[in-house]
């Protein structure tokens, strides 16, 4: 048998004996993802339905100045409530999502046929206020249009004259893309699981083996250092893929359990595509960790890189949050950004072209090969085997 496979088999047997570690590193992620998707899905859906359909209570400053408006709002399921003393503070302190303020001159302006002011106070950075504000604005717009039309009619003018244009937004978001937007954190989970799924094993088989001083006898065998290293990388990849498959199974189960309405493409084909997208990531993560583990003095030092590595896949997500850009081909050549884009495209049910796939895979494999080469160089350094 090739020394590479001998080393791989030994590392997998060795790892399997450490049952508790294996179970924790294999099952934690999947359990977490099921909990997150089911839990967040339920919360999201509840919020949507209650905010859309429930009677909306809106504090109304100066309700007595506009009884007809209050009645119109009530007809449209918006109930005016007692206003707080200071409307601005109430918004700032999140006591109310939205407050309506009818200007003191409302009655005069109304009678004079001039535009009367109704302020909609809200904080646009707060997500919770989005739906109430939209509801209130649309009802107010409806009221304004209705009264305006009546006024024109009473003067013998066709109301259509005052409306040269009807803006009619047509939302082309598919249900899948809508949910995809709400679940922007999911790619991060999958990328992380692929990238660092085998981290424990990689650190243990290189930095750990060195710390336990078992690397020296191993390097005194005729097996080449490159073969030994490749066997270790291979073992970590096998473990990483196992952890990834479990993660994807959990992913599928999560959306099967999630309340109706929270649906993304979790067909077997989509899962296969995700696996294919994440395979180069497993290799990339394993090679990178091998380079790190071979260059440090101890397991502790290797682990101190972990927080940085956890952050790495998040960087593109942060970047996209601050400056959302449209999908372009070059993104598929940027590690982590590419995984993010590819996974979102699969989850949104979009088609990936042959060019997308080849560029993505080529870059992933090339980066991994470079890291593998660096790791092999590290393994040939003399003091690798000699700890302390």
């Amino acid at each position: 048998m090739n020394p590479m496979f001998v080393v791989m088999m030994k590392e997998l047997v060795d790892l399997a004996r450490d049952r508790r570690t294996v179970l924790i590193s294999l099952l934690m992620g999947p359990i977490l993802i099921v909990g997150l998707v089911v839990g967040m899905g339920a919360v999201m859906q509840k919020k949507m339905t209650t905010q859309m359909e429930k009677t909306l209570e809106v504090p109304l400053v100066g309700a007595e100045r506009a009884p007809n408006l209050v009645a119109f709002l009530a007809e449209h399921n918006i109930e005016a409530t007692e206003p707080p003393e200071d409307a601005e503070t109430a918004i700032a302190q999140q006591d109310a999502d939205v407050i309506l303020r009818i200007s003191p001159n409302y009655a005069e302006d109304w009678r004079a046929g001039k535009p009367a002011l109704v302020e909609i106070l809200h904080d646009s950075t707060r997500d919770d206020s989005r739906i109430p504000v939209a509801r209130v604005s649309s009802v107010l717009r409806g009221y304004a249009q209705q009264v305006g039309a009546l006024r024109l009619l009473s003067r013998g003018v066709d109301p259509g004259v005052g409306m040269p244009l009807i803006p009619a937004p047509v939302d082309l978001a598919t249900p899948m893309s809508r949910v995809g937007q709400a679940l922007a954190f999911l790619p991060y989970f999958l990328i992380m699981s692929a990238f660092l799924g085998g981290a424990y094993l990689v650190i243990d088989v290189t930095a750990g083996e060195r710390e336990r001083q078992s690397l020296e006898p191993l390097l005194a065998t005729p097996a080449s250092r490159r073969a030994i290293m490749s066997g270790k990388i291979l073992a970590a990849c096998v473990f990483g893929v196992m952890s990834l498959v479990l993660m994807l199974a959990a992913f599928k189960a999560a959306f099967w359990l999630a309340p109706a309405g929270v649906k993304v493409d979790v067909s077997l084909l989509a899962m296969a595509k995700l696996l294919l997208i994440l395979l180069p990531t497993v290799l990339f993560g394993t090679c990178l960790l091998t380079v790190i583990s071979a260059s440090v003095k101890s397991v502790k030092e290797a682990q101190s890189y972990m927080s940085l590595l956890f952050l790495l896949p998040m960087l593109p997500t942060f970047f996209l949050l601050i400056s959302p850009v449209k999908n372009e081909l070059w993104m598929l050549a940027v590690p982590f950004l590419s995984q993010n884009q590819m996974i979102m495209m699969v989850l949104r049910g979009e088609t990936l072209t042959m060019l997308d796939w080849s560029l993505y895979t080529a870059v992933g494999v090339a980066v991994s090969a470079a890291l593998w080469w660096i790791a092999a160089r590290m393994y040939h350094r003399e003091h690798l085997a000699v700890s302390g």
């Binding site: 048998m1 078992s214 191993l218 005729p222 003399e382």
Partner: protein, 248 residues
Amino acid sequence: MIEANGLSKAFKTRTGTVQAVSDVGFSARDGEITGLLGPNGAGKTTTLRMLYTLMSPDRGSVRVDGIDAARDPDAARRRLGVLPDARGVYKRLTARENIAYFGRLHGMSDADIRERTRALSQALEMDDILDRQTEGFSQGQRTKTAIARAVVHDPRNVILDEPTNGLDVMTTRAMRGFLRQLREEGRCVIFSSHIMQEVAALCDRIVVIAKGTVVAQGTPDELRTLTGEENLEDAFVRVIGSEEGLYA
């Protein structure tokens, strides 16, 4: 047969360069036990590491059965059985699995490994621990496992770094018996020790190393004659110039 010629090795440390070994040369013949004797920190381990190609010498050469270790390290390692200073037994594997792992890395068949493990287990008296995971093994049990693992491929040359270090009296005796058996089988055995009595009891030839250089070498008789001391212990003190490291 292992020949070392003018081996030198320096390490860079924070405080400067340390010349660990300079111009060490000796040859260890087949069917003989050659002892590397010297105080702690004399350069024994570094010398051995160069012999089994873990380190490459700054100057000098190593030949294993005539093979230049620098030119063909894989072939040299194939002819060597090595017990390093760090035993490095895998604690989640059983003793048998530890031995089999190295057998496979040497390209042995499963049948050969099984047969060889049986023979070694008998010679090292480790039948009772063979199928236990090595976690919790005593120092002696670990050393036995590591030695069996080191010679599983039936090498012509065996290098052992302080093989009796930390062993109790009974295990030390068993270990000495095993080393003699290796010699009777016609192998070339090199071991290092900082304990004079140990070397005196076992070795056909002694290479005394102090401060990175060979200060004397020869048979025990030659060493006695060389120094004019009746007693090997006094001879040892005379050649290294101090009593440092003499008693374990």
